[in-house]
């Protein structure tokens, strides 16, 4: 819609005003903040907590849109009554890197197609996303450049790019425009600002190295031909089936639903929580049959989901190259190394 300039000195008052106003409406501003030596997305109570210089976060911002645990319904067993619960509140999701913006766009598709998921969609409707252009790689594990997620042309309401003394703010939606005019002091970008934005964007490119040995568009077909690849057995030997890789993945959305009942056994809640295809019981049916019993088959399923199945269903790759699964894996499994191994043996 438009390009605005926000002086860095004006950021703190803007965030401050946002925090106060959202808090008064029962809402929250969520952004990157420090936790020990890491960063997380969490509620920002003070503008000083907001760390726009963060590298990456332990969990992706999907946790704001699809929480680790949420109530879907409350029920009364004696009266056989069920009430839907939609846990949503006004939220500003501040400082989302481009890889995660790509991931959220994919989640938007997942939860709006076919049978729309009102729980996700209502949270999404109430969430304003402020993106943040990455100018340096998070660390040696990220491979956003290879996955084409180093920049984005959408998926945000506002998008910040650090120009040194100020942020260039791409205003993409009316909600973003309202936020900016309500809380911020901004000016319209001049021609010089546009030049410096283009300069920053083009000069960042060399900082990011490609880690995939081939063009990502080949990934679905490479994986399609690699169903019986020896890699899966190797990964199965390494993998501990802990499920960390899927928990930290910004595009993993599988879940389980359980009923939790109060002590009097009269009332309860139907709760949805993250689940993982890496866990032994994920594909087991009540009769005992487990359709993905081996760890090798479960690792293969993860790779296939990220590089093939999701692409076939939604037209986007399921991996955005954030590197979180590699960073978190205690068994040192690397999805990008795996992709490369499959490519190498296909040559």
């Amino acid at each position: 819609m438009s390009l605005m300039i926000l002086d860095k000195g004006a950021l703190t008052p803007l965030v401050d005003a946002l925090i106060a106003d959202y808090a008064s409406r029962g809402g929250v501003v969520v952004g990157p903040k420090a936790k020990g030596s890491n960063f997380i997305f969490g509620p920002i109570a003070d503008p000083d907590e907001l760390r726009l210089d963060y590298s990456t976060t332990i969990l992706p911002p999907k946790k704001v849109l699809q929480p680790q645990q949420e109530r879907l319904a409350t029920f009364n067993m004696q009266e056989s009554q069920v009430e839907s619960v939609i846990e949503a509140k006004p939220t500003v999701l501040f400082g989302v890197h481009t890889c995660d913006l790509h991931a959220i766009r994919l989640l938007d598709q997942v939860f709006s197609q076919d049978h729309p998921d009102a729980h996700y969609l209502e949270r999404r409707r109430q969430t304003i996303i402020v993106g943040l252009e990455c100018l340096e790689p998070c660390d040696e594990h990220s491979f956003c450049e290879s996955m084409g997620t180093l920049s984005t042309d959408g998926g945000y309401d506002l998008h910040l790019t650090d120009l040194g003394e100020a942020y260039a703010v791409d205003v993409a939606t009316e909600a973003g425009e309202r936020l900016l005019s309500q809380y911020g002091t901004v000016s319209e970008a001049t021609k010089d600002d546009v030049h410096s934005l283009n300069d920053v964007r083009s000069s960042k490119q060399p900082h990011f190295t490609s880690r995939l040995d081939f063009d990502r568009v080949e990934l679905p077909s490479l994986l399609g031909a690699a169903y019986d690849h020896p890699l899966w057995e190797e990964l199965g030997e390494q993998c501990l089936s802990c499920g960390s890789c899927t928990n930290v993945c910004p595009t993993c959305y599988c879940f389980n639903v359980i009923d939790e009942v109060d002590m009097a056994l009269t009332k309860g809640e139907r709760v949805r929580h993250w689940d993982s295809c890496q866990l032994d019981e994920f594909a087991r049916v009540a009769g005992g049959e487990n359709f993905r019993e081996k760890r090798s088959a479960r690792q293969r399923h993860r790779f296939m989901r990220k590089g093939k199945y999701i692409y076939e269903k939604f037209g986007e790759l399921g991996c955005v190259g954030c590197g979180r699964c590699i960073r978190t894996c205690v068994a040192n499994i690397s999805i990008v190394d795996g992709f490369n191994a499959i490519h190498e043996s296909a040559e």
């Binding site: 029920f75 009364n76 839907s84 076919d114 729309p116 599988c254 389980n256 639903v257 594909a283 199945y309």
Partner: protein, 274 residues
Amino acid sequence: MTTSVYKPEAARLVAVEQITDLEKMFTIELPNKRNLGHDPGQFVEVSVLGVGEAPISITSSPSRSNGSFELCVRRVGDVTNALHNMQPGDMVGIRGPFGHGFPIEKMRGKDMLFAPGGLGLAPLRSLINQVLDEHDAFGRVIILYGSKRPEELLFRDELEEWKKRDDVECLVTVDQGNETWDGHVGVITTLCPEISIDPNNTIAATCGPPIMYRFVLMELLDKGIPETQIYLSLERRMKCGVGKCGHCQINGLYCCQDGPVFTYAQVKGIEEAL
């Protein structure tokens, strides 16, 4: 705001009948005796509040929807055990119907060969009765049914009725007989040599435990039935029923959305299917 696709509707158990040691038949009414509006082969998510939800195929045929529908449920997990403890008048939650059932419009005019094993008769019964209720629109109706033991046979009254009908060829077998059983003994595929069919004009439908598919499919293909005319109903942990939760994935397919009924042609290259 749209309503939640995960909210079950309260429905009443109007009849509960023990049909084998492990299976009970539940007749269920939706509010105002509204018809479920299902296709044969579709399933519902059944809630027992406080215990959870489980996907169950609908065993009654749409042609007999008289303000109620039937589920044949084996007691095997938490939800199904809880269901088995319920009485007529008790309430359950229902979501659905979900998934792709049998495309009956593609089946009309054809001979029908049903080959269910064990509990696999439950989903096929919906289609069998639909076909029998408009038998003029179909050719021959052949039912080959096998179970492990005589006491595990489902719907015994209906099996007897089908056997007696002139317009139905119904053969029943058990893997292991006993003193009360004077019928055929042997696995379901041993019934196949007893029938001759016109393969190109035959639609086959099968459902059963995973181990059974391989052998039944081999027989059906051996008889020359085209892969596009063999239908299977697959069992998976269809937790949400709406293609989101991921539990029922068969490689890139979602059993709950793309199935649970598939043609053999659809799944034969899908490694995790069978």
